[in-house]
Amino acid sequence: MAVKVLIPTPLQKLTNNQAVIDCEAATISELLDSLEAACPGIKARLCDESGSLRRFVNFYVNSEDIRFLEGPNTPLKPGDEVSIVPAIAGGC
């Protein structure tokens, strides 16, 4: 069983309008490469020139922000749900 990835609207042009993608990956870093293989161009949108995750995009594994886990090295197991969510939302 693969990892389920929820794709936000701004990236769905790169996923053929798919809101959910199944991926094989053992960490968030691997997930980025695996996504790139399936949807070319997507990694450049999620990472800056140095390869770090952009500061305005948040990743959650089973609803937990990866910054509270192990960041890009956060391990993934089959059945996990990864949400990619623009950071800019909410509050006032």
Binding site: L6, P8, T9, P10, K13, A19, R45, R54, R55, F56, V57, N58, Y60, S63, D65, R67, F68, S83, V85, P86, A87, I88, A89, G90, G91, C92
Partner: protein
């Protein structure tokens, strides 16, 4: 209700140029979109300031409605009849007693605890968001809220006849839950903290196509906070204050007060003047204050644990911009404990007759801390933004206020109680004196 004698030609095309990414500068049509497709940066409304400079005057503003809509030219809507429940134009109170207590000679309270219709500054942002939502064709609106925004969205949606879904953390204060339910929206109480509610709503917004005031309508919504700057400038006799203190949750309010002052300077309505920006957070959720103290220009998220629920955002969207503004205006960002927040609520109530909620307690407590540290110029015009009403968060202070003296309907019973009360008061004073 007064109206402008000769309405300026206020079409969106004339004034609102575009949505523009604050990070990479990419431009978009003014639709329901809040993040840049290229870099995920926040989108901001860009205006034609030259047009505004030529068409807006102090007189044209003063001739407008007695609400925030007198500043309609600076707001991203095109409707000739925006949704107006008398929101804004709240009192700017000269706070002499609190000022004396803190050693500040020209202290003012911008009192949005009495903003209409739901007693918090959120009515400003929601009025703009729902006016724009209607223009963009939405019939269902929604929000992720810590309570005040829920109240406001539910009320103003009811007034506008829009279907409404509210998402809140399940542990909110009872007054804030009731204060939404009364308008009969569908309320989802999410078992999680605000940041989790927010993430869920981002996903719901994607899937359902509703108008979420603080997600896909956020560029418009956030602009409503600028009216807190415009009003203060107008109420001070068309000039800017020297220093302001405001609460920080996502940091958006702070950045929009800054933008509002800048815009008034840019179009020639007020003279340029440096305004120092001071931000207030609760220690139990102080990601921006922690970044400030550590000298960082990025914000590490935290898990909130504070009574100041209305500002308990552990993952603040505009945190980095708030840091930037505090830095470039020679301001500061500080945090206070829950005990200090309660003391702040009581201090404002006892000195100024204004009952604020926990966010206001946080702001007053930080004001006091800054004054005691000598960080504020005591001679300068200082404005403190009080953004919400204490009647909504009674749980926070319930155990910290006195109780009524229960007496019989007889003069002897009254006099006995009065004597006891006066003795207690004397003891209190002795304690203070010690």
């Amino acid at each position: 209700m007064s109206t402008a004698a000769a309405p300026a030609p206020l079409t969106t095309l004339a004034r609102v140029r575009h949505l523009r990414c604050r990070e990479c500068g990419a431009e978009y049509e003014p639709v329901a979109k809040h993040v840049c497709e290229l870099c995920f940066g926040p989108l901001e409304v860009g205006y034609d300031y030259e047009f505004l400079r030529q068409t807006v005057t102090r007189e044209s503003i003063q001739g407008g409605p007695l609400s925030m809509w007198r500043y309609r030219a600076f707001l991203p809507v095109e409707s000739p009849q925006p949704i107006d429940l008398g929101t804004g134009l709240t009192p700017l109170v000269r706070a002499e007693r609190l000022g004396r207590r803190l050693g500040l000679k020209r202290l003012y309270i911008k009192n949005d605890a009495v903003n209409m219709p739901t007693l918090s500054f959120k009515d400003r942002v929601v009025s703009v968001a729902l006016t724009r939502a209607r223009e963009l064709g939405f019939t269902t609106v929604s929000c992720a809220s810590t309570g005040n925004l829920a109240n406001s969205t539910a009320a103003i949606a009811a007034h506008a006849g829009l279907e409404c879904y509210i998402f809140i953390p399940a542990d909110l204060e009872a007054g804030k839950v009731l204060g939404s339910l009364i308008y009969n929206p569908t309320v989802m109480a999410v078992e999680g903290n605000y940041d989790q509610v927010n993430r869920l709503c981002s996903e719901v917004a994607d899937r359902y196509g509703w108008g979420f005031v603080n997600i896909n309508l956020r560029p418009y919504y956030a602009e409503g906070s600028k009216t807190l700057a415009y009003e203060v400038a107008e109420q001070l006799g068309w000039q800017l204050p020297d220093q302001i203190v405001a609460p920080l949750a996502s940091g958006s309010l702070f950045t929009k007060i800054y933008k509002g002052f800048q815009e008034f300077v840019k179009v020639g309505l007020v003279a340029e003047r440096p305004v120092r920006f001071f931000g207030a957070q609760a220690q139990g959720c102080a990601p921006i204050a922690q970044a400030w103290a550590a000298g960082r220009d990025f914000v590490t998220p935290v898990k909130p644990n504070t009574i100041a629920k209305s500002i308990a955002i552990g993952n603040p969207a505009d945190g980095i911009y708030a840091l930037d503004i505090a830095r470039k205006t020679q301001g500061e960002i500080q945090a206070v404990s829950d005990a200090e927040i309660i003391a702040g609520i009581k201090l404002l109530a006892e000195t100024e007759g204004i009952f604020t909620e926990t966010a206001g307690g946080t702001t007053v407590a930080v004001l006091k801390q800054l004054a005691e540290q000598g960080k504020l110029d005591p001679e300068a015009t200082t404005v403190v933004y009080i953004t919400g009403n204490g009647l909504k968060t009674q749980e926070a202070v319930q155990a910290h206020v006195g109780h009524p003296l229960r007496i019989q309907p007889q003069i002897a019973s009254f006099e006995g109680a009065l004597e006891r009360a006066r003795t207690l008061e004397r003891l209190d004073w002795q304690e203070v004196a010690i």
